[in-house]
Subunit: 308 residues, 2 copies
């Protein structure tokens, strides 16, 4: 019973130590030192070279270190085994925290106050009550839902846009293509928490941005490919969009000559919105390993047809 | 039955309109157009000239537009009538929001990321779990308590320092002089929500700052006089204090030549942490006016001996 690991942004030793704690009898091997490939039954990987997973004949599931699984699904030789999503409450909490921070930052106009400080200007700026700030979350998966609930708890007017109907206390739901433009029209702050699929790529484009209320803000914590970067730049420069906080980009690290770095209305963070710590992540993966051992159904499975 | 108004940072017309809604039969006069001084039974004032209130012989209570009442109490001719504190849930909510924003901003290291963006540096920085970030709130009055509860709800490790014992779920309590240094020693982020009294003036001085853990942050939303500004600057420059967010100052507006404006570790906001909107404020003052009319006890009274 062997788990293969390929990290990840956290040092791989942390993962080895974390599994040592929660499943002491599990043998852990670290890519590329795989030993006998037949032994490997579980894989928890990040950016695995395409084709590599197919060389393990006895895999029982593959888990992705990141919440997004598009890199796995793009592997043309991906084995036909269950795919497990690395979601857990700690990850969701860090994402919800990031979203809350940046929504509050716009509500209370901190970018404007920071600019005022630079100019030594003492001036109070009007701002809305939280209940009058309409936040729109694209995607109510484990991350999007945690963010939506956190915002709702803090008094914001929250709606979610989803592919299929959702029902959560205090969170309005707009569904599918039909609901997309009405959802945008009521979103003063748009937060992207979508998985990256053929349907969601380039979804935040000129048309979507134009459908937001004038003066809206955009927070992208999904994937860089959700956003048409030049369309956002045009909408910022026209004044239609008041600001954007971007944690993900088409190219990461963001290239030094990219206009986002120096745009006065753009806040750049280095893909740190959601933080998967080994100590927490190992617990949920270990749960699925135990389930596989005991013949119980796995949890947090990827829907390959949906792409997430 | 006449209410005298003297604003305040919100346009006085908003207050007149708000009282027109909640107490349509109340006559409202705006300083300095007081009419017959004998008619005035209630006063809701901001920065009233000392001695002026003593010219109204039939006052039944005086309320301060701001939560702090030190300016009123400094009036040597202050009439011996009940003093009402302008607290209400909307005010507390905006303060709690400000404190949460700035605590999250430090937790998730936004000032560092903003500096990195200016230098086009893409680098993830370590940060704590909220439960490992110890926030210390000086003062658990209506504002401090709302902030403490909001932070506690968001997972932070919160303690309050108070003059008399408090008991609130999930909020540790340190009391009086004896509890002061132990409280500071466990505060990674210190938030001042104290009233300004002879005892609290200059309370955040070199000794207090030295008692905070190395790398601590300071958020002052109390009064400028709580903080010994040169001591903070020294502690920031020595590296003992990692950053400060200051909403109140000894001199407001903050003078253009003040070092806080340009200090890289200081965030300046223009006394906007707590926002008393007329629509909400009028409701709570009207409640006390009704109580006075009906001979019921007033609420939210200032304790003159304590100074708040």
């Amino acid at each position: 019973m062997v788990l293969l690991l390929k990290g990840g942004r956290e040092p791989i030793e942390n993962w080895v130590a974390a599994f040592g704690k929660v499943l002491p009898d599990l043998e852990v091997r670290v890519w590329p030192d795989c030993g006998r490939r037949e032994d490997v039954e579980f894989a928890l990987v990040s950016n695995m070279p395409h084709g590599a997973l197919a060389t393990f004949p006895n895999l029982r599931f593959v888990a992705s270190m990141s919440v997004g699984v598009e890199h796995l699904l793009e592997d043309p030789q991906l084995p036909d085994v269950p795919l497990v999503r690395s979601v857990n409450s700690q990850r969701s909490a860090t994402m919800a925290q990031y979203v809350l921070l940046h929504v509050l930052r716009y509500l209370r106009r901190m970018p404007d106050y920071e600019a005022q400080q630079q100019a030594k200007v003492w001036q109070r700026l009007p701002y809305r009550d939280a209940k009058d700030m309409r936040v729109g979350i694209m995607g109510l998966g484990s991350l999007g839902l945690a963010a939506a609930q956190q915002l709702s708890q803090c008094g914001f007017n929250v709606a979610g846009w989803t592919r299929t109907p959702h029902s959560h206390d205090g969170i309005a739901n707009f569904i599918g293509r039909e609901g997309f433009f009405p959802f945008l029209a009521r979103s003063d702050i748009l937060v992207c928490q979508l998985p990256l699929t053929a349907e969601t790529q380039d979804i935040i484009d000129a048309r979507a941005l134009a459908a937001l209320p004038r003066g809206a803000y955009v927070i992208n914590t999904g994937r860089g490919e959700h956003l048409v970067e030049e369309d956002l730049l045009a909408a910022l420069d026209s004044g239609h969009i008041a600001g954007a906080t971007l944690d993900v980009f088409r190219e990461e690290p963001l290239p030094a000559d990219h206009p986002f770095w120096i745009h006065p209305k753009v806040t750049v963070t280095p893909h740190n919105s959601c933080d998967g710590r080994a100590a927490h992540g190992a617990i949920t993966i270990a749960d699925n390993i135990r389930r596989a051992r005991e013949g119980r159904p796995l949890v947090n499975l990827v829907n390959r047809a949906a792409g997430y």
